[in-house]
């Protein structure tokens, strides 16, 4: 029951918030709820057995018998931290939006909780249709979040976001239906169960685009590639990020982009191993191009939020590179980078939101000399900047280093190009930092009618957990990676013959008992 509670508790919260009579206390209520949800998800870590690659805490009930569609939740080392990332960021987002969201507070928190359910469901569903339902459902609250609380061009941005991602995923639906028929051919009974999909042997013809596995591979990959987003399909992202309100940007960058890379890990690579291997060069290429392109475009942005948005494109390129290196360095680096990016880019967006609340501008040129005026803010911003450019001791370093190591092992030539991204990353982030925080005071900073105030207690409280995570993940990566090691090794070693076994509840304790003896 624990996974169902984790997934659907936010939906219940959404209902309670929706009927809550007093507007003034909604923020407190929502914050309390999100903390409860986070504590509940911590219980997942406690129950999680890191020694097995199998699927744990499984809940499986037949939902639509006619098509073998089931209500199927499970967790393994790949999902675990993404779930935690989601539940960790939600209270932070609520706290960070305490004053910036001043209109339709109720609607905002309802959307947030519905979105949380959709995201958690995406990470935990192991039935194709059940997964698809969550996957598509996540679009709706995000659509409202950008469209209602966003900036000036919010409607354009939100419609573009919705249509892009929806367009990507419909072909995946056809591919899922097709695979359901393949299971019917193979086993006699139609099934949308992902574990049954894994057992399929889909014929692969190298070099022929119009062959079964290649087509299915691309149908899935397109959906996830748009969500990530990879280089040529990324154009919705800067628009969505710039127009979204701060909490929307944080969720978008922090969690929703991860749904795409998670899709590659969970669906594309194990389901279509031969096609993934054959086309790995393509995805590594667009990953590497994305790294450099994102960094170069970020460098010239006059708008600091757009700069961070393009830096996301660059960082997501790393993840793709790591995943398609197909070795345990690359894979675990990719997974780690997903978490890093969630935390450091989330933190950047939150801080940009804080300064925007004070000055109502995101133009880098109008700032300058902030360091003298806002010392606390500067310290936090600097730490997050370092994390974003992957300085050792911060979380970003571990992820990027592992990815580059894995890429070098697999395809050195892509590593040569990708490594320049590290330099470019330092260039655009530090240059932005210099222009905003040092030098002569800019027009907004020097404006005597609107003196700037440093972070208040609430804002410090928002930043502290993020900064703690940056260092914790940077100094003790094994605290996190140990949990996903078994799953990632299973994925890397048995890629062509991937299988997940369901670990029965109780079996873990028995195994432990035996191990202790």
């Amino acid at each position: 029951m624990i996974l169902s509670s984790v997934v659907f508790l936010p939906l219940l919260f959404a209902l309670i918030v929706a009927v809550w009579p007093k507007t003034s206390s909604i923020r407190h209520l929502a914050f309390g709820f999100s903390i409860i949800e986070f504590l509940l998800s911590l219980r997942l870590v406690q129950l999680f057995d890191s020694n097995t690659a199998g699927l744990q805490m499984v809940e499986k009930h037949l939902w639509i018998e006619r098509f073998g569609i089931s209500y199927f939740l499970g967790i393994d080392g790949i999902s675990l931290w993404l779930v935690l990332l989601t539940t960790f960021l939600t209270p932070i987002i609520i706290l960070a939006s305490w004053t910036s969201i001043s209109e339709r507070i109720k609607g905002f928190h309802v959307s947030l909780f519905v979105l949380q359910t959709a995201m958690l469901g995406t990470f935990l569903a192991f039935d194709a249709i059940f997964f698809y339902v969550f996957w598509e459902l996540s679009l709706v609250p995000m659509y409202f979040m950008i469209g209602i609380w966003g900036g000036a061009r919010r409607i354009y941005a939100t419609v573009k976001f919705f249509i892009y991602t929806f367009a990507g995923s419909v072909l995946m639906l056809i591919a899922i239906i097709y695979m359901m028929y393949l299971t019917q051919e193979a086993t006699g009974a139609m099934s949308a169960n992902l574990l049954d999909f894994y057992k399929l042997k889909i014929p692969f013809v190298g070099g022929a685009f119009f062959s079964l596995q290649t087509l299915l591979f691309f149908a899935f990959a397109l959906a996830f590639a748009i969500k990530v987003p990879v280089f040529p399909l990324h154009t919705w992202l800067p628009d969505a990020h710039v127009e979204a309100p701060t909490p929307g940007s944080v969720i978008l960058a922090g969690v929703m982009l991860k749904m795409g890379t998670y899709g590659f890990m969970r669906w594309v690579i194990p389901l279509f191993p031969e096609a993934s291997e054959y086309w790995a060069w393509l995805f590594m290429l667009i990953g590497a191009v994305g790294i450099i392109y994102g960094a170069l475009v970020a460098m010239v942005q006059p708008d600091v939020k757009k700069l961070v948005a393009y830096s996301s494109v660059s960082h997501m390129g790393y993840i793709l590179l790591g995943l398609f290196a197909f070795n345990s360095y690359g894979m675990s680096g990719g997974l780690y980078q997903m978490l890093n990016h969630g935390i450091s880019t989330g933190a950047l967006f939150i801080m940009i939101g804080m300064i925007y609340e004070r000055t109502h501008s995101r133009e880098i040129a109008k700032y300058g000399g902030l360091a003298g005026v806002l010392p606390l803010f500067t310290i936090f911003f600097f730490i997050v900047t370092l994390s974003s450019i992957a300085l050792p001791l911060t979380n970003g370093f571990i992820g990027e280093f592992l990815i580059l190591l894995g890429t070098y092992q697999a395809q050195p030539v892509f590593a040569y190009f990708a490594v320049t991204g590290v330099i470019f990353g330092a260039v655009y982030m530090l240059w932005m930092f210099k222009r905003m925080f040092f030098g002569a005071k800019g027009e907004l900073v020097a404006d005597e009618h609107h003196p700037l105030f440093d972070l208040n207690f609430r804002e410090v409280a928002v930043m502290i957990p993020l900064v703690l995570m940056i260092f914790w993940m940077g100094i003790f990566p094994n605290h996190f990676l140990d949990y996903s090691k078994a799953s990632i090794d299973n994925l890397v070693n048995n890629r062509t013959n991937y299988n997940l076994t369901i670990v029965e509840p109780g079996a873990a304790e028995i195994m432990h008992a035996q191990g202790e003896k």
Partner: protein, 485 residues
């Protein structure tokens, strides 16, 4: 041969009951010296009639039951789609009771016509003889022309009625011509009788091929398959909103029933000529409906084009049912889709109807601006309807499309399924627009009249049903499928 048995009477008892209750309001009006009774009384008499008719349909119908020498059949298709038609008629009448263009004077006559039309629908949905099909079709259509013309609005409705009448008669004539050709080539008009030879006749007899094509074209007009859809936006816009809702759901459901019975057999769709025609009709309809809807500013016109697009999706299901050895899966997916489609389209029209302040009021999409602030509940309902029409999970609209495309993929019609999903992406664009306007633009939108009235309750019930049916779509689908065996 010509004896009428008791079982025949029992089987057609839903039609008889419906017809008898339809007489009550106008009889009362005559007895009262041509004075209207209270509209609520008229409405409740009509609703009671519909409930009785629905009950009789469920009780006496059943697989393989035929009446009047195989002239009418009361199998699962009849029961489900008959129920959809009756339910849509009931919702339509509730909307008529409150819409400014229909309520008030001549309400009894209006309800009488609507119920007569529903009788025609029941005949059409049950008909297996082409002549009975024609009778049902005309009995359904003639009251509709009158109902549209009776609108209190002075100009657009008259134009719509005339347009619908002229084009409708033209289509009926084509259909009847087709029936004549079929009679000429097979010597009979009963579908069950000539279907056995149809596979051969399609290949050998040019006359039969023409006949069946004409019949198809006649129905394409009724369900607004492009390029025979041109009347749809004009008529839906000009007609009072409740009538548009009634036409978009009930007429479509029963016409697709006829489609399923006459066309969706392997003998016909399985043949190359007809398969190609139907396939391209489906593709063109989806593209035309969805792209034209993008360009609309009028809410009712937009829903009209969306209904054109949905006909295209449904045609995929009809083709699937036709090409497969065992047409039950495809046919059930069509029935399930019509059922879900009825809910969301009725809901969307109900919201449009509530916005109308007077009989001349034209609702543009931009008029919805700011509705979310004033009427959060209704905006939420409208959002559910639109997302369901767009096929976003977990609404029932998604599952309808899922079953439809699943059946198509199962029969190897991958090509059509891909066209279907691609055009539904185009569809998302215009379905999002009213949501954008309601939630993201400032405005003074307000519904007419009280916030608590029958139409509102209906809309809320529809929205709840759409969400709930999303979760239990599996059992419903299985029930549909089982009833067709």
């Amino acid at each position: 041969m010509n004896t009428v048995t008791l079982s025949d009477i029992l089987l057609i008892s839903p039609m008889i009951a419906l017809f008898l209750t339809s007489l009550i309001p106008i009889t009362v009006k005559v007895l009262r010296g041509n004075r209207e009774q209270h509209s609520l009384a008229t409405l409740s008499q009509a609703l009671i009639g519909i409930i009785i008719s629905l009950g009789l349909l469920v009780i006496f119908g059943g697989a393989g039951k035929t009446a009047f020498n195989n002239g009418l059949i009361f199998d699962g298709v009849t029961q489900w789609l008959g129920a959809v038609a009756l339910g849509s008629a009931a919702v339509g009448m509730i909307m008529m009771y409150e819409n400014p263009a229909t309520v008030g004077k001549q309400f009894s006559e209006l309800i009488f016509l609507a119920m007569s039309s529903a009788v025609g629908m029941l005949i059409l949905v049950a008909a297996v003889d082409l002549l009975v099909v024609f009778i049902g079709l005309e009995m359904m259509s003639l009251p509709l022309y009158l109902m549209i013309a009776m609108s209190h609005e002075g100009k657009l409705s008259k134009e719509a009625a005339l347009k619908y009448f002229l084009l409708g008669s033209f289509a009926s004539a084509i259909l009847l011509y087709g029936v004549a050709l079929i009679f000429g080539s097979t010597g009979g008009t009963n579908i069950l009788a000539f279907m056995g030879d149809a596979a051969e006749l399609v290949q050998t007899s040019r006359l039969f091929l023409f006949g069946i094509t004409f019949v198809i074209l006649g129905f394409c007009f009724k369900v607004s398959i492009a390029p025979f859809h041109a009347w749809t936006p004009d008529v839906y816009q000009g007609a009072p909103t409740p009538h548009s809702a009634f036409m978009a759901t009930a007429v479509k459901a029963v016409s697709f029933a006829a489609f399923l019975r006459i066309i969706a057999t392997q003998a016909l769709v399985g043949s190359d000529h007809l398969f190609d025609i139907l396939q391209w009709l489906a593709v063109i309809t989806m593209i035309v409906g969805n792209t034209a809807a993008i360009l609309q500013n009028n809410l009712k016109r937009m829903i009209a084009y969306s209904s054109v697009a949905h006909s295209g999706y449904l045609l995929i299901g009809v083709i699937t049912a036709g090409v497969s050895q065992n047409s039950i899966f495809g046919a059930s997916s069509v029935i399930f889709y019509l059922l879900s489609y009825a809910f969301m389209t009725l809901g969307a029209f109900a919201i449009a109807s509530m916005m109308e302040r007077s009989e001349n009021h034209i609702i543009n999409i931009d008029d919805l601006a700011g509705l979310a602030k004033k009427r959060p509940m209704l905006s939420l309902c409208m959002t559910v309807f639109l997302l369901s029409l767009a096929g976003i999970p977990p609404t029932v609209g998604f599952f309808g499309k899922f079953y439809l495309f699943n059946a198509a993929v199962g029969e190897g019609l991958l090509w059509l399924a891909i066209w279907g999903v691609v055009s539904s992406v185009i569809g998302v664009y215009y379905y999002l627009r009213p949501i954008v306007v309601m939630y993201m633009k400032e405005g003074e939108a307000e519904i007419a009249g009280h916030s608590l009235n029958a139409t509102t309750i209906t809309a809320v019930v529809m929205a709840l049903a759409i969400v709930l049916m999303g979760f239990v779509s599996g059992p419903i689908f299985s029930a549909v499928e089982k009833s067709l065996f």
